[in-house]
Symmetry: C2
């Protein structure tokens, strides 16, 4: 099954557009795991178990593992997700971007070592930095387009004079991903929930691409505005929430609290489709 097919199946089965982001910071761990970087796997696995039937995707953020020498725990977590939630695709959030020969190594890391179904990438270095990922049949790749942080404005929101129609940089990335770069239908876009008006502009330029939309929850994005701006029948959105779910409780009931918050967010997103 391709990444896109998995995404559609998970959306239907779990009636969900919610992606649970796994950003495990031991300093923020609840209750008995507090401060213990050897418990990254246990913490994340408990979140996965509690939200597997509520999610369209899981999105582990590799920086949080790399900072704590926890690549082995990430490998175990990937296997665990595959076992308890085989229907839920896994997006490895790594935002790689490098020349072709190096990109080939990163693609091996994401798709072979970790077995991810999709990866996030930076488009800054151009098409030949994206192409090596597309050689991995059926895998997905989300290009950074309009990111959810304030600094996203610094470059992405500038207008190109040299391209027909004078698009903003992020609109141009969306055009490339919808058109010439999307060789086998593997591309999607990362668009921050903090800017619903920009989600709408991206949707105009890229009417069919899946959109990975972080920034709902702790970063302040509005879930309902996000769905109205981005969701169209047949054009999936994957709305990521990390901190507001995984740290919903600072006590030993964190998994139950995560489940409640995931269910609340999922239902909010589903209701906004109407």
């Amino acid at each position: 099954m391709t990444f896109l097919e998995m995404l559609g199946a998970a959306e239907r089965q779990n009636q969900s557009m919610l992606c649970v982001g796994l950003d495990p910071d031991p300093l923020k761990f609840p209750g008995r795991y507090k401060g213990d970087s050897n418990k990254i796997y246990d913490f994340c696995a408990a979140i996965v178990d509690a939200t597997a039937d509520l999610s369209i995707a899981f999105k582990p953020q590799i920086a949080y593992f790399a900072a704590h020498r926890a690549e082995g725990q990430l490998e175990r977590l990937m296997e665990h997700m595959r076992r308890v939630a085989p229907q839920v695709p896994i997006i490895l959030d790594a935002k790689r971007g490098d020349i072709g020969s190096t990109a080939e190594q990163y693609a091996i890391e994401a798709f072979e070592r970790y077995g991810a179904d999709a990866v996030t990438l930076s488009p800054f270095m151009g098409f030949d930095s994206v192409a090596p990922y597309l050689k991995h049949e059926g895998k997905g790749a989300f290009l950074l387009c309009r990111t959810s942080n304030p600094g996203g404005d610094d470059l992405q929101n500038q207008r190109f004079a040299s391209i027909e129609g004078q698009p903003l940089l992020y609109e141009h990335v969306a055009r490339l991903a919808q058109g010439p770069w999307n060789l086998n239908g593997q591309l999607g876009l990362v668009v921050g929930a903090t800017y619903p008006a920009e989600i709408e502009r991206v949707r105009l330029v890229a009417p069919t691409l899946p959109l990975l939309i972080p920034g709902v929850g702790a970063q302040g994005g509005d879930a309902v505005a996000t769905v109205k701006a981005g969701w169209r029948p047949g054009a999936p959105i994957i709305v990521n929430s990390s901190r507001s779910i995984i740290y919903a409780s600072s006590g030993d009931d964190f998994a139950e609290a995560a489940r409640r918050e995931a269910m609340r967010t999922r239902d909010l997103l589903q209701a906004a489709r109407a």
Copy 2:
């Protein structure tokens, strides 16, 4: 000692602008190491030993370690470089770029876990994705500016209508790095050797920043043109060569061959300053 001070000291002591890039691909390993991903450390350490007195910097590319589950070997390699070449700064080539909270984790990975002196970063997500690295006092950060791959044109070589003077994207990155983003003098730029005319344009906009210049050697950049375009007294350039040095021989004499090629390239670069 700050990264910039280390760089100046290594340049003087080794009379070199050559950075040896460590891109260890087991399939390309010479002689007895061929195909053995458990020999990444041994291979790289032998290259380091053979070139420590010829280099202004070492630049391990983290993708080659990550693809082979070799983070432990990278840790050992960092310690080895520190031991045999304490005067040579280490640039971890990782091209990270993410929101602030995630960037903090990547900075911990680069500067604390691996003990790198500098890191490469993508500017695509803007200043708040760069700032967390600058909080690490004395460490350096090289922003991707005009990269050496053909796809570098796709975005970096487009002109901004919305910014005064209508700079190309890469010129605008250079302006930001020379000016408002360079809080404590920690920033440098990555500019490919394959485009000497662009190196000159970057040098005009960023007269004092250190330039990390990959693309000499296997990628086809001209060493002499690179120095003439980029080197100015007091404005260091770090000219990286990876494959043409580390794979100079496919036999068991690879370290001696790497030393000869490094010496040849170093001398070529030094002569071009005249």
